[in-house]
C-alpha cells in the first residue's frame, strides 16, 4: 500500500474526511496513476519498435595493427536470404558441404524469409566483445 492511500485511510479513521470523500480521493489517485502509466507506455513501445538497422563488425589489432570497421545493413541480409532461396538444390548441397568443411553444420535450406524476421529482431540484442592480448573484436547491431 502506498503512502497516499495510507494517509487517506488515516484521515478517514480520524474522522477528518467522510467515506465518500475517501472514495473520491482514491478514485482520483487511480486516475492519475493510470494516466501516468499511459504516458509511459508509448515511450516504451517506441524503444521496442526501434529495430536495429545495421550490423557492425569492428576489429582493432592495436596501435600497430590493422583496423577493420564494417557496417552491414540488415536489409542486405534479408535480401540476401531471399535471393539464396532461389539457389538450385544441387548448388545448395555444394554450399552445405563447403560450410561443413569449414566446421559450420548448417543447412541453408532451413534459412527461410519467414524465420528471418525473428532472427533479425533477435540480433538487436546481440553484442559480442572479444578482448585478446593485442586485438579486440566487437560485433553488435545498431
Amino acid at each position: 500500500m502506498n503512502e497516499e492511500r495510507t494517509k487517506i485511510l488515516e484521515m478517514l479513521a480520524q474522522g477528518k474526511i467522510t467515506v465518500a470523500d475517501a472514495e473520491r480521493l482514491m478514485e482520483a489517485m487511480g486516475n492519475t496513476k493510470s494516466s501516468a502509466q499511459s504516458t509511459e507506455e508509448p515511450t516504451r513501445q517506441i524503444s521496442n519498435n526501434s529495430k536495429p538497422k545495421f550490423m557492425r563488425i569492428e576489429v582493432d589489432e592495436g596501435p600497430d595493427g590493422d583496423r577493420v570497421n564494417i557496417r552491414v545493413p540488415l536489409q542486405l541480409l534479408r535480401a540476401g536470404v531471399k535471393f539464396a532461396g532461389l539457389i538450385p538444390e544441387v548448388a545448395r548441397d555444394k554450399v552445405n558441404k563447403s560450410l561443413e568443411e569449414k566446421g559450420i553444420n548448417f543447412d541453408i535450406a532451413n534459412l527461410k524469409p519467414d524465420s528471418l524476421e525473428d532472427l533479425v529482431s533477435s540480433l538487436g540484442d546481440l553484442s559480442l566483445d572479444v578482448d585478446g592480448k593485442d586485438e579486440k573484436v566487437r560485433i553488435y547491431c545498431e
Binding site: K53, F54, D64, G65, D66, R67, V68, N69, I70, R71, V72, P73, Q75, L76, R78, A79, G80, K82, F83, G85, L86, P88
Partner: protein, 74 residues
C-alpha cells in the same frame, strides 16, 4: 583509398541493362518452362535488384600501415 559509391549513379545503367536483358530473360523463362523453373527465373531479377537496393549503407573501412580502404554505398 576512399571510395564513396552513390547508388543513384547506377540507376541509368541498371535501366539500360534491364531493357537490354529483358528479351534474354523472357527467352530464359520460356526455356525453363518444361523444367518447372519458370518462376525461379522470373523471381531472380527482382531479388537481385532488391539485393542491389539493400547495399545502401554498406560500409567497409580497412586501415593498415600500408593501405587504407574505405568503401561506402550511399
Amino acid at each position: 583509398m576512399r571510395i564513396p559509391i552513390p547508388l543513384l549513379l547506377f540507376w541509368p545503367i541498371l535501366l539500360a541493362l534491364g531493357i537490354l536483358l529483358a528479351p534474354i530473360a523472357i527467352i530464359t523463362c520460356l526455356v525453363f518452362v518444361p523444367y518447372g523453373k519458370k518462376l525461379t527465373a522470373i523471381k531472380a531479377g527482382p531479388r537481385l535488384f532488391s539485393v542491389f537496393c539493400a547495399l545502401r549503407g554498406l560500409k567497409v573501412d580497412v586501415r593498415s600501415d600500408e593501405e587504407k580502404i574505405y568503401i561506402v554505398f550511399v
